[in-house]
Symmetry: D2
């Protein structure tokens, strides 16, 4: 068991990058939920490489086909299976790699684990392509959440050390929609220009860059989550680290909180119109693992794409001797911008699961 | 379900800070494992407040009593239950807090979730005291792991922004033991002095500070972990965020990786005596969620203790009006140093669980 | 992981028959639920051997001590741990058995699994004594269910082939209470006399007998359970087979349904006062794994107690040679009557878990 | 979460009877396992209706297409997804049923649970058609098990009260193969003739009959399974009750054990060539939930097909008034014979999962 998560809503992702198809199985979706397929496709398109010089040249329609669970555009209570066929594959690009693992990739550990049996063409089951079915799950979850006033949005908080400005204390659904509609998902377009320049400079140098994604959820009721290991942070982190290239996850002030004093980091409570809010949100909307009702804020660190054109040091496994490797094929000089909807998808799917657990099937 | 984790080895923590006892249930420990109770007590003592001016004045013996699963000092295959009685409680110190939630604490979310029913004396089930039984689990796991050549160690990587030096590329069991034996768990004692001064300065100011803990595991075989959501990072993070005050978790270069180029962050492979190692370890010993055989390295961010003596803004819940709060009682100006063995414990328990699961696929 | 069950409400049983204590951990109980300790003790007493010639002479008070989760007699939302100390042990009675496994007991499989490490005194973790903490869990669950109009009751449907009459189509809470109050839990006291005679005859012959327990739950709303592997039958059976000596579980007409025609076994639907009921209940209140709203009815087969005074054939494991065994010690000539509350307990705990999942924490 | 089972090997079934496809996702299969597709198809064909007068006239090729996890006929370690397209559907046959639930079917509970949203055409996700993908899972599991000397076989133990003879004390792989090759899966062909006559008589009478399936597994090593709720019986029963129409599950002597004395039911141990066997097998190869090494034997009760041609009493849900129903469409007068490979499939999948988990404790 590796490619599944969730308690009430089980999300299971399958497929290999150059296999017949990738897909997702959702068991536990409430019945009677309409899925707007156009809106879903728009969400999926945000992840697609799409012909920009910032991304790989691989072209995929990423159009999901629903094998079960969705009848007349509405969920029917049975497990939903959606499949995306793999189209534009060039597996020959990868033939050399079966014996020479790419630094920073899963090639070597797959070889240790499964020997020659792993289908590692295009990264196999470790490929970023697997985030397409995850986005099908998350895109459906986002629609169900939005119908109940819960909205999830994200932006590129940084690329190659160039920062965007952070979300405001109270981000809105409109702000999320505005960022999502941009070709480059930042709040500050000037920062976005600098980021794009950094990506293109890396590409020019046959190199790559990473970034940080900030994601927020608004409308999450207070009281969601459990103490200790059942907290919102625990469950979100457990899924976010399943997105390829994520190497760090933090909530609210996160690692910066470690440098603050308690008097700075504590968020003062304030009564307002009969409810409680906090005047700052260093907690990222979570105390003791449980939501406070303030916006939930998290950040995920995306490492630079390991596939780079530069010659790298590796080993020839068959001979167990040192070797050089220059990766050919089509690669992204940065995947952080394409990972923005993926972080939203993971966040939305986990929140929906937790909300369904709070009031199973009919929250 | 909230206070449990693990697949083959299930770890369940129970108790409230000012209840009768705290404890842990371990279901799935291998049979025939000797538990050195003296060594376990030494490990637990590293977490105890222990009379230092850097910690709370609360005194607890933290001596576990084994109700089941351990016969003649050896595990017998049945679930192991260990209980630590709560001794030095002063619940009256907390009476005011039931109506005025402490900023940065779980008081407010517990009130939302359970109304007046929650036993929040001393933090209740959210208290840092619950890390004592977690350390019983982790201390036993550490002994079982060490017997098989897997060692887990940690140090304070930073307090209040004052950094310790990082673990070397290849930390050793001896280094782990040396740090564990210090009264203040740092590699660089000069840095430790500066950290202690920062803690005492915060205490003087009726304030608190946070820190970062770096933890490493050596001897972990390559190939441990699963793709996507079953990875080592996913499962460690899911538990580490269960330690009170942890707000961020990263592996290897973590958030810093997001600022590097691929050519810098990728760890070159090198053949050495018939095995494969990497010349750097930005991956923290994990690629694609699976161990590479290099040291596993993670960092957890600990927020400043929310209990501070300074007057803070909060609300009186019964009246839903703003109020001031000055927390009395005994508190830690910093808990990061006491959390060092806790991070080790969580890491060891997860690794043991995954190693126990590990042989699957080849029965 | 072996001694746990449940999704929202996790029930974990621990202890060995002759260890320090047995106990149970309940994680996920709703907060604010009063536990009537006298009523709980009455329920536990139904399982106790209690000095009757029909049962073992071992005496145990079976008085649970609550270490956590229950404050002022009310659940507080934190995991509840209850412990029952083991008192009247005579481990020397079992010394011979460590090398000569008792036919029908778990001695041999424990030896295979854990070698000499298992603590098999008195049956160890396999002992019927472990049903005492299960009854603590079930007794609490029964109180929580009763408060919401769900009642669970059981009776001895047969002992040694002597049948009791079955529950009527609509059993009532009063009927359940009446059976529970009897020293021998049958509907037809004449049948009960014949059963007791059969037990005493077996005891006289240094032998033992088994029986069948019928359990019903009323007030369960229709629509509980999920298709396929998440059905009520699946989840109940998974726990019922954890009661020592259970070798069969059936729902409604069960194995007899296999001999009926569809026209006989199908329960006709009928409209009544705006709701739907069935005119018979061969389905045992469950169709497609999901409750119909009719009484839930199940039966569990209890094998004859394997510990008998007669000389039996076994092997001396150390020499791997045939040997004879005459079991000394105190044993039950029948455990089916003592298992009646245990079947209720398991049923109640599973139903509570499923109802909590339907509307987590506040159904 | 409803249509999934397994710990190391997760089996997830999806699809509705008249939807686009049914299928199965297997996460956790070992890599490097060849799948003989012809043998798999032969196994699936045993479940297919196939034109006999004993079964429905619905025709389905039941040819699985592999979307992932199987490359070059060999498992690659990634999740395996197999899909079977639905072909010969006649949904108009079912239009009346949406308002008039069929007695003995899940129509009513689906209406309670999901209102009009459920896709109940042909039984929807509750249909026996879902056992086709379960057989894909089980057929693959059987091949992997056979390669390691574990064989699973089954036969019709009874239909309409007509008994087959039971499996011998030591069934063989050859015996399993011989029964599987028969058009009607019994040991005693004379009994089979009488069963077929009973089925045809019921069909003639517009009625249906049920049956009992006996399933055995040989080659299972001793020591598999865990005490209490992690036993082999628990985990098999939890899955077997997911097969539509199963209303009872028993192991070894099962319900008959309740009528035996301990001296009759206990299986005497005997040393033989350095290993231990039992001279009888009333335990069905399981003591204390753990395998003894003797053949594992279980029986599942299959109720008579609820779809019958006779007029039945039901309710018109829209008006909540009594109504009559005469089911048209194509139905099986008995499904017990088609369920024989399904019981094998469930048993094999659970045993493979447990064996994959098996090495735990000794890494």
């Amino acid at each position: 068991m590796s490619s599944e998560f969730g308690r009430i809503l089980r999300v299971s992702v399958f497929g290999q990058s150059h296999g017949r198809a990738v897909g997702v199985l959702l068991d536990g979706l409430p019945a009677g939920e309409a899925v707007d397929l156009e809106e879903l496709q728009s969400f999926l398109n945000r992840r697609r490489p799409g012909g920009s010089p910032l991304s790989t040249a691989r072209q995929e329609a990423d159009a999901p086909v629903f094998l079960s669970g969705l009848e007349g555009g509405v969920t029917c209570g049975a497990p939903l299976c959606a499949v995306i066929e793999n189209g534009d594959q060039r597996s020959k690009d990868y033939s050399e790699l079966s014996d020479k693992p790419r630094p920073g990739h899963a090639d070597y550990v797959a070889w240790v684990k499964w020997g020659g049996q792993a289908d590692m063409r295009g990264g196999g089951h470790f490929s970023g392509r697997l985030t397409a079915p995850l986005c099908v799950a998350g895109g459906i979850a986002k629609q169900i959440l939005a119908r109940r006033g819960v909205f999830v949005g994200a932006h590129l908080a940084a690329v190659a050390g160039v920062p965007d400005r952070p979300f405001p204390l109270y981000p809105t659904a409109e702000l999320f929609a505005a960022v999502a509609a941009k070709p480059f998902p930042v709040l500050d377009d000037g920062a976005g220009e600098a980021m794009r320049a950094a990506i293109l400079a890396a590409k020019e140098a046959l190199d790559s860059v990473g970034g940080v994604i900030e994601c927020a959820a608004i409308g999450v009721p207070p009281g969601l989550g459990e103490p200790m290991f059942g907290g919102v942070e625990n469950r979100l982190a457990a899924v976010l680290f399943g997105i390829p290239a994520v190497k760090g996850v933090e909530f609210g002030a996160g690692f910066r909180a470690a440098e603050l004093r308690g008097s700075e980091n504590n968020d003062p409570f304030a009564a307002e119109s009969g409810t409680v809010r906090t005047e700052t949100n260093h907690a990222g909307g979570i105390l003791g693992g449980i939501t406070t009702g303030m916006p939930l804020v998290l950040r995920a660190a995306i490492k630079p794409t390991p596939s780079i054109g530069r010659t790298q040091q590796t080993v020839r496994l068959s001979a167990m001797e040192n070797a050089e490797l220059a990766i050919r094929g089509r690669h992204d000089p940065c995947i952080a911008h394409r990972a923005v909807p993926v972080v939203e998808a993971a966040t939305a799917a986990v929140l929906l699961d937790m909300l369904l657990e709070g009031n199973h099937g009919t929250f």
